[in-house]
Subunit: 341 residues, 6 copies
């Protein structure tokens, strides 16, 4: 089984620990981005996964590629092109204080890439599963075109396509709205992943649940997922993540999956001391792709995905630095946090 | 609108992170002190604020002044004089372990200052609001005399005077007790700020609520504030902060305000993962001064103050490094802590 | 009153803060081990305590000895011998992610020590209380023999012997099982300390309580302790610690003590933001030994021990860096975590 | 005397200490840029100095402005506009390994600014000295136009104009070459500052000295400076810095000044353990401007400038964190480095 | 061209910066070992290189392998086996204070490996160049046997064999002396690398030059290398590194190469501010292997090797984190250390 | 052989690494002071040494005492009294930039101690060697009186007294000048230690050598020491340290000793990359006391002292963290700085 993910990876510059920006003259410097995060998850579980993007040809991008290689992600397909390395600045939050992202990703190499810059036919040779998100088409006209090329090629080669809708309100600045593009991309998607807001803002499908509030109503998610599957007959299934945001530290976390035959609901986790929320959704996507390709039982696949993303909240950085065994243990039900020795 | 605050600013030396003193051979070195903290809050909200104190003429005091300037606080009135820079050592706490303050502030420049060392008439030229606390008069005979001079001058110039009673049991060592002095100062105060213990220990006004325990009884605070206002006919209003200390990490936080016409009670926040409690009261004072001078509605002013101080608990250091927008968002009710991107 | 503890001390190499191993190229480097941790606790409370072990003759072991001396533990009895300094690697956990210990303690100097390498008669000269744990006899044939020698000598000299049963499933690799050895050692023990799993795995005494689950049932512990005391007529008392592991951050913590006359149950603490769990049991043992030798009242001794170990959860590192006063304050009931200034 | 400097300030992201990029997942994060560095120098010497630039409206730029304010630089003239905050990545060098700069400054707010975006007439109101460098006109067509506007306005208002020619071969990408622009700007300059390469690459004036080699030949610099002054009759004087680069740690450092009347040569410093070379030239410019406006004696002014920039090599970061007294002491000849206590 | 190196890689635990052991409770934690260092060098220059060793199956060894992968070294041949991960502790030196290595490498997985544990025939499939050092056979009887197996297999498959003699006086504890083993291994070596002490202590070939003293005498090295080549007729060439140790910071560095036809002497570098000397010899070996397989000119190959190892002295850690271009620039003669921007 | 030293120990707060004060919000926090530094040196060499001082009763002083205990210094004689813990702030220098000390030691416990506060008779029971410096009598009237008491008691008990004259121009503020006091103390001194400036400023004995300049003239030191010995007939010998301060990084270092019979001159060390100069003189004193009490040969004693203090320049912090073997190796002549493994 070979996997490929495509999207933007950025330099992530975070104020250290619980500090505000420039409280100390230091930034924690790592790398991350939705699709790269998914690739790292799959590599961590022992999968053969490649990641493709466009990066500039400089030492910062070299370090980024080396970091991906460290996790065992194959980086041979990565292209170098004009433009910058995208950056995002991050300030952690706590209690009632939200964490903040400041994007500096304009003019990145992937944003400046043009249709045809990637030979998708070659890149997808031997690939079984292709993953993309709703972030890449939001970056620029060119990245959108590349995204469309990618899913079309994948489809034509019989590759399973998963897509995390991932709506980002501060992107989509090149003249197209999210629904204009995402409704087109969705036609090529086998496995959709989303939260409720994504469904609404990317696909324009609404049912009235207040995103800001907390308590879940699983019936609504069943209805919502049914509507998406009705709108996209090609789509084999959709998974919806259910986050209850009580504070920057305390979240409830669960997910559901609708595969047209059955509506699965996962165990719900209470996370009381969130270390880093960023990448939680990507950890879910990575876990779900792993689960769907390694378990026959969709409930098990969903539980693996939710456990994986639950653990991500305890790990600093975008990447979900867990082992297969860590996730399996939690998915099996051991959430006691006892010291392992 | 121009503001002035007066008091002592100290070098704050904290054991790093969650460590005990000298567990590592390093101390986090910042600056802080009640009245300076209030000035920084006001500057952060975009106000034109000056801070006055007496500091020695050495590179440590220079750095302190530079740090205040960084936040936009006007430091031109600061005087240099004989004596040291006050220091306080701080060890963070967690759970049942309290954080600890070790004072090394004896013989500071402000403690050694004498009446007449500050030309209050000049310093207060053009000032609309003057803020002081009960800490300065607790330091030394001289600082007490300067404090008295300051409020009298302010009064004579028609400047609004606010005072955070701030009782500190380990000060008041120069021969006067807190009530002897504070009952005199209180006569010049328009806006008093206090917690219940401050009222009791500084003004000698008691009603029987156990400071150490938790659950609030708002009626008591109405009565208590009424008594203070009765005792000080000049006082236009008093705000009382209501902290429920469940552990070093978990506090309930709210406040009330009595303006002789109405008794306002704020929303109550549960803070579950306190980052730094020191300066929480000063953040309230800063927020209240801002609120009272920017909102017509006293409930809104109080909510702003409580939101501001609630956020302070999530920020390391004495200074409340929040933006006006951060506070407004929380005061409006968004406490979900969702990532802002 | 002079105390002696005997066992292995290791170099403790922890991933910094909340990071996974090698997320940064740095390890927090301290020292720790069950019996040394107990010695440090006693020294912190002002007791005259010695620690005996076998260490290699190199700068890392020198630093370890210096660190013990720093706390006031007498290190003059420590022997140097062939073999390594044992190491354990530690990764902190959070929420549902457990912390992990990776042992690298094989071939340590104490593991390679042989019966007769320590002159117990001399070492115990003037000693009133001797403490050992179930870890040392688990290390190697030689360490087991030395452990047996030690308790026999102590007994013969009328020294009170305490033993923390401390079952470690990844040790016991030299050919003997835990019960084979520990049932023999237990014959010389005056004060046994254990959790339920220890009793079961070390002494083979079971009653059916699920170790992984949470809610306590104090009756069971009364019965369990009665059975141990019945099996070991020499044993004067047994204390059992009661941990409810809700997550890596949140634990309930309490203990009980059975002295054949009465069954004491301590106050129960809810610890919501665990800083470091490792050494929590040792802090209990240290507190209990102090309590039993300084209070006539066993309830008070038990409360002291539970308060001490409760505080340990808020302190990074193996050693319980608290003062006598810190523990006394909590044992007396002040768990509010208010800033002390 | 009021000073104004204009140019780009960047976020400076440096690999920590002597490490290569991403050897640790951390970057030292400060700010710097030629003209801002000059402003900080002047502020450090107690001068009334303003800095003008265009920055985006985000928290990173806010922190940059706060940092300038910290040093006492007036930041009120700084404009906010579309575009990014420029960044440069820096890796320190040692011995034969050069330090490396990776620019990420394309599309910065100042690069995207247009002629007319700054009201130079207002900005220069009350200013006596205006400083610019050859970096700003190298950034973009717009920045070049703003630079030209600035020197013309200054000239028309009788303000003294200084310009550090500062040739940067990796800029000048918008279609104009350095000499095309700089020969025009030079017509408005009263005080030129340069090293030999700058003169050659910016003004196209050559004499044959090998830039890479070491040993100085002062006659050549006399001739070179004479030629520049001949070419620009408006120019009152030119200072040339003389760096002998023996290794990344060891440099000789001196300068000369030609004021048409006399050719001054400074003392020469051997710097054997360079801490940070970046900003050394700016420290010279700042020192020279201070010297020329505070000393009647040009030799003294030059010695002050060389001493100031010599000291910069011992200070990490772009800014020359020295006091007036530090520079005066060295300029007077105390280079012994004895502990001051 | 495919390369393979074989040997032990250790966890390297260094006191931070210039500190002594445990001056701070932290150790810099990286990985290194002679043959792995050579593999990293080759990977950095863009070569296709594999590294083979035996490591335990635990998270520390996993991190070690990930780190090698980061540099692009192929780690697929690495075997897991019983035993520990070898460790070495390092304290940096300065001036007259030498840096110190404390080995904790006994009982490592490679030390406990047995002949036959590695299938050399498979491992060397497709390999053109095999590199080994004199450290591996010094570790244990088993590692020695594996080393002999490796060079014999390489020889039989027509693979070029290079060997860095690398004498370590604190190893060789299993019953064989260095010359007993190394004279046998040398028979299979095509390219020998050594310093004078190595030749003497490993091969027993002496000429009288004092290792501790400084000034070089190139004639001696010509004679010495001639003698080695005479003793080992199979050997095609020998390179000898020439270090002049003036202090922990200041070393002269050069090398010579004798290929039976000609005696080449490299440029000599003065390194005045050594950052990290460990791995300097390995950087030479890596550079020489690269040079000999990429340049026809042996002088150029030697200059590349010396430049590479010269640069290593400016880089912290065992690995030579330079690029091909860095080395080429220095080999071409630019040692000025000017900032590259 | 038992040693005792008496003086002030301070909290030492240093800007990290090469940074200026508050460039980062952190201070390196250790402890140091002339006489404590000497005690640590002696303890490091294995001597039985006590240190006596007066400290406040707070957690900072507790940590200071623990740190001394870590090195094996006996701290039982240390008294607690009113007053502060003295502090000194330190900024490292480099090249032409001197390091700077900012004292905050006024009102320290030892400064506020009174004659009679220490029972010298008891403290000196069993002591063979007593060491003091010229710093203690410079602090305050009381500290001066205690110093005089101490040397008189020592003399009366036949204890050898050593004194490092150590002139500090920023102390001596209580009304007495250095010569007024030091000429009295010198009468009780057996072994005097000084540099030329100390002799001149403390004892008022001059010969014309320029302290600021470099090149040594050993004849002058012979004459100078002869004059001191002539003035103090009780004095058995005087050692004079000879520092050539070329820059903050580069110093020459040597010493001479005059024992009335012979004038010894030590080897001279060139130190090119000074890590920390503070405590260099104390390291000499500690080394000399060790040497004089362990070697019959005074040349050897002097070489030991100079080697010890030479090494101190390579060690951060006040304390000379070297082993006996480190010093012996250098004293024997190995200054090559080769890696020890």
């Amino acid at each position: 089984m070979r996997y490929l993910t495509f999207g933007e990876i950025m330099l992530r510059l975070k104020a250290p620990g619980v500090e505000r920006f420039f409280q100390s003259p230091v930034l924690e410097a790592t790398f991350g981005g939705g699709e790269a995060n998914v690739a790292v998850s799959l590599a961590n579980y022992g999968c053969d996964v490649s990641y493709i993007t466009v990066l500039p040809d400089n030492p910062i991008a070299d370090a980024c590629i080396a970091e991906l290689r460290r996790f065992g992600v194959c980086t041979r397909l990565i292209k170098r092109g004009p433009g910058r390395m995208g950056i995002y600045f991050l300030e952690g939050g706590a209690n009632q204080l939200p964490s903040k992202v400041v994007y500096d990703r304009a003019y990145s190499a992937i944003a400046m890439a043009k249709p045809g810059d990637i030979n998708w036919d070659e890149a997808m040779d031997g690939i079984d599963w292709f993953h993309i998100t709703g972030i890449t088409p939001a970056i620029s006209e060119g990245a959108m075109a590349l995204s469309l090329e990618s899913v079309k090629t994948a489809k034509s080669k019989g590759i399973t396509v998963s897509c995390d809708l991932n709506f980002r309100k501060n992107l989509w600045k090149y003249g197209k709205s999210a629904p204009e593009v995402m409704t087109e991309i969705a036609k090529y998607v086998d496995v959709a992943i989303a939260n409720e807001e994504d469904v609404q803002k990317s696909l324009g499908i609404n049912i009235d649940v207040d995103v800001e509030s907390g308590k879940l109503d699983t019936d609504k998610y069943r209805i919502l997922s049914d509507e998406v599957l009705k709108a996209y007959p090609n789509m084999k299934m959709i998974a919806i993540t259910l986050r209850e945001s009580k504070s920057a530290d305390i979240n409830g976390w669960a997910a559901c999956l609708n595969d047209r035959e059955k509506f699965y609901i996962s165990r719900r986790y209470e996370i009381n001391d969130i270390i880093d929320r960023v990448g939680g959704g990507d950890a879910f996507a990575g876990g779900l792709i792993y689960g769907l390709t390694h378990y026959d039982d969709k409930q098990k696949a969903l539980e693996f995905a939710v456990a994986a993303s639950c653990l991500k909240h305890s790990i600093p950085g975008d990447f979900n630095r867990v082992t297969l065994k860590d996730v399996e243990n939690l998915a099996k039900g051991d959430a006691s946090g006892r010291v392992q020795r």
